[in-house]
Amino acid sequence: MNRFLHGILVLALTALVTVDAIAADVAVRAKKLYTMEGDPITNGVVVIRDGKIAAVGQAASVNIPKDAKVFDAEIVTPGLVDAHATVGLTGILNQKQDQDQLEHSDPIQPQLRAIDAYNAHDPLVEWVRQFGVTTVNTGHAPGELISGQTMIIKTRGNTVEDGLIRETATVAVTLAKSARKGGDKSPGTRGKMMSMLREAFVQTQAYMRKRDSKDPEKKADLDFKKEILASVLRKEVPLMVTADRANDIANALRLAKEFDFQLILDGAAESHLMIDEIKAAGVPVILHPTMARYYGDLQNASMETATTLRDAGILVAMQSGFEDYVPKTRVVLFEAAIAAANGLGFEGALRTITIDAAKILDIDDRVGSIAVGKDGDLALYDGDPFEYTSHCVGVLIDGQFEPGETYKQID
């Protein structure tokens, strides 16, 4: 333990120096380097220059620049990508004043931007970062029919603007029990949910025609809601549909077919019952946390679903998801670990929180693997990252060091 803490201290001191000399190159030496671009490299080196990866390869073949700040670790992976989170919007205290993930005034509010709701200083952002998470797709949570937008951001920065990769990453739709209401409120049933979504898209199609009109008399006024749905229909922004029950998944697929948008299935607890349909639709899945509570819509969830999807050739990513109670955020590293142990294997599970997550979110040109030209985002571990007793000893985000797990010193 002491040696571990000592290592942390050394890393932390090194980091201070790094901050002072921002232009300096950074090099990371790994006993085992998982680039996610081919086989892992034993004794690998990554060089980061100006926040981007400048070189990667075996120690013998990569020159470490003389002035580079050097970090060492047993295992190095790409900075982890959490394909669906709510950190920054769902604050640590879980009190009204720090919960900005759901606005209940209207079931359809695609205009709500995640960037306007994100607190870069919420302790849970740092919490997930210390385990290696460097990029999150975070924003409005499942719980309203169209709850709002998500964005993609690095887990580092003073303001939301500092770490932003994409302002509007997805529009979040919920085809699940959590978005159905009681009494005389809509939507109260699955049928109503689908009809409301279809109406919203049909009206958006009409709006798009009217916005394009050359005749000023016929030109529609700007409508925030329809603008964002128009970008979905133009396939500029994917619809991330949370659907766990097989029939809800079927509904999501049907809707995507009718309106020809880019669909990402989210949650998908019963996707193991819908493999053929999902595969035929060519839709990727951001799977529920493996340690989610298996009841209600998730009563038939399985720790082996990621494996089933992967084996069928379906692109699958892991998520920390949304939790309205405890743990207020899950850690995607821990969720993937359970999948690793339930058939997915080490590299298969690592893919779900690195390159495959990046591919689903269409950010694989920047993050998700260790390759020249990509962002200098790395996660450093003192052992198998999925082992419960390993530690993340630090992360690099755009070449900047942030500490990993630190525990109160115990003699």
């Binding site: 302790p123 340690m291 399985s302 720790m303 743990p327 007793t389």
Partner: protein
């Protein structure tokens, strides 16, 4: 009617026969596994001999022959450890006291448990063999808890652990802090919470004194009061209080009340226990803790840290882990010990916190919690180190009877999930929308 008696007789005879053959006469030796007895050193290649639901012997493999008729089961390459004990669980869809008030000492949780809940199937899949099933924390005193063995059960009686004095083993669940501070008729502040608890115990003391004073004179004896009868057990130290408490000052309040009324207490959760670890140690009070994947989710848990187990260990506090199932999943309970080690706990104390420490906290350590001769044959067969994410629970035994076998398709379903594995019903969690457990 006559036919009924014949049937009953047949059942009794049959039961007698089956008990004697299965549990008493046959001896089984599990040979070749690494044995982690918890009490005593690990045995690299060991023998565990079981007879009549009890452990006969635990030793290293040697040339000795087994007694005639011993069934020898080769478990080479496996790891054997004691059945895992959870000191705080809500499995079974349990609810204790209702919304009518903050104090329900007369309510027995075992009147509320559905033994067919899939939660029990998941618990044995996680290697659990003994649970303390508790009502929630939405009351200052939400009712009695029950300690159960995860035997295959048709009714809750099949799971009971009977004490020598004939009582059903269990404790009393109490709580302080925000969970039990609610709208009327509940207390609104911490001060009021403590005063209500003090009044309750004072009334129980007076009731006890009246009974004593009456002696054999039944005419002077007060009417029976179910709640106070159980509170007397608490006051006399025959029923342990399991106290939900998070904040450092709430923990101190529990210690203060325990001292005033002389009841024995286990502190549960203690999110800020690391701030008052020395005080807890000084009071000689044990803790039952859990690790949540992130702090917060409620104000009182904002300071919850992974190293609580390590800090309590250093302070010398007897500490067990609990699942708080549904809060965490019993199938992954071993993960808790491993995360404790991650944050500085010793491997030995972390494993004890899953077994013997829990047994001590439930005062059942003469029967369970370690692999030692004469203890119940509650054990788990693992395919690797208990602290590795890749390790699976292969089999779980309660009193020598296999209650989980991962190679059985139905058991496998409950171990990992899948169609038909879970419950549609949401778990009972008091105050979930705002604050809880």
């Amino acid at each position: 009617m006559k036919r009924f008696w014949i049937l009953l007789l047949a059942l009794v005879v049959f039961a007698g026969v089956s008990t004697s053959t299965q549990a008493e006469e046959s001896t089984t030796a599990y040979v070749g596994a690494k044995i982690i007895p918890i009490v005593g050193d690990d045995i690299e290649r060991g023998v565990l001999i079981v007879k009549g639901g009890k452990i006969v012997e635990v030793r290293a493999t040697d040339d000795r022959k087994f007694a005639d008729g011993t069934e020898v089961i080769d478990v080479s390459g496996k790891v054997l450890m004691p059945g895992i004990i959870c000191t705080h669980s809500h499995i079974g869809g349990v609810g204790g006291g209702d919304g009518s008030g903050p104090l329900h000492p007369e309510v027995r949780i075992y009147d509320a448990i559905n033994v067919r809940s899939s939660g029990f199937r998941r618990a044995v899949a996680g290697g659990l063999t003994t649970l303390n099933i508790m009502p929630g924390s939405g009351h200052l005193l939400s009712g009695q808890t029950v300690y159960v063995k995860l035997r295959e059960a048709r009714t809750i009686e099949d799971m009971f652990i009977m004490l020598k004095d004939g009582r059903i083993a269990g404790g009393m669940k109490m709580a302080n802090g925000t969970n039990s501070q609610r709208d009327k008729p509940f207390p609104g502040t911490r001060g009021k919470s403590a005063s209500l608890v003090r009044e309750m115990f004072v009334a129980a003391q007076e009731y006890r004194d009246k009974i004593k004073k009456a002696g054999d004179d039944e005419s002077k004896r007060p009417d029976r009061d179910l709640g106070k009868e159980f509170l007397i057990e608490v006051l006399e130290g025959r029923r342990v209080v399991h106290h939900h408490t998070h904040r450092n000052d709430d923990i101190m309040t529990v210690l203060r009340l325990a001292k005033e009324f002389g009841f024995r207490v286990v502190l549960h959760h203690v999110s800020e226990g690391w701030m008052v670890a020395d005080e807890i140690a000084e009071a000689g009070v044990p803790c039952s803790i859990l690790i949540i994947d992130s702090p917060g989710g409620k104000i009182e848990a904002r300071n919850l840290i992974f190293e609580t187990g390590a800090i309590l260990e250093k302070a010398g506090v007897l500490t067990a882990f609990h699942t708080d199932d549904w809060i965490t999943d019993s199938r992954l309970f071993l993960r808790m010990a491993a995360l404790g080690v991650r944050a500085g706990m010793s491997r030995q104390k972390a494993l004890e916190a899953m077994t013997i420490s829990g047994a001590k906290i439930l005062e059942l350590d003469d029967r369970i919690g370690s692999l030692e001769a004469n203890k119940d044959a509650d054990f788990v067969v693992l395919d690797g180190d208990p602290l590795s994410v890749y390790t699976k629970v292969e089999q779980t035994y309660v009193e020598g009877v296999k209650v989980f076998d991962r190679s059985d398709p139905e058991d496998h379903l409950h171990a990992v999930g899948g169609f038909g594995a879970g419950d549609d019903q949401e778990p009972y969690l008091c105050c979930r929308e705002h604050e809880d457990d």
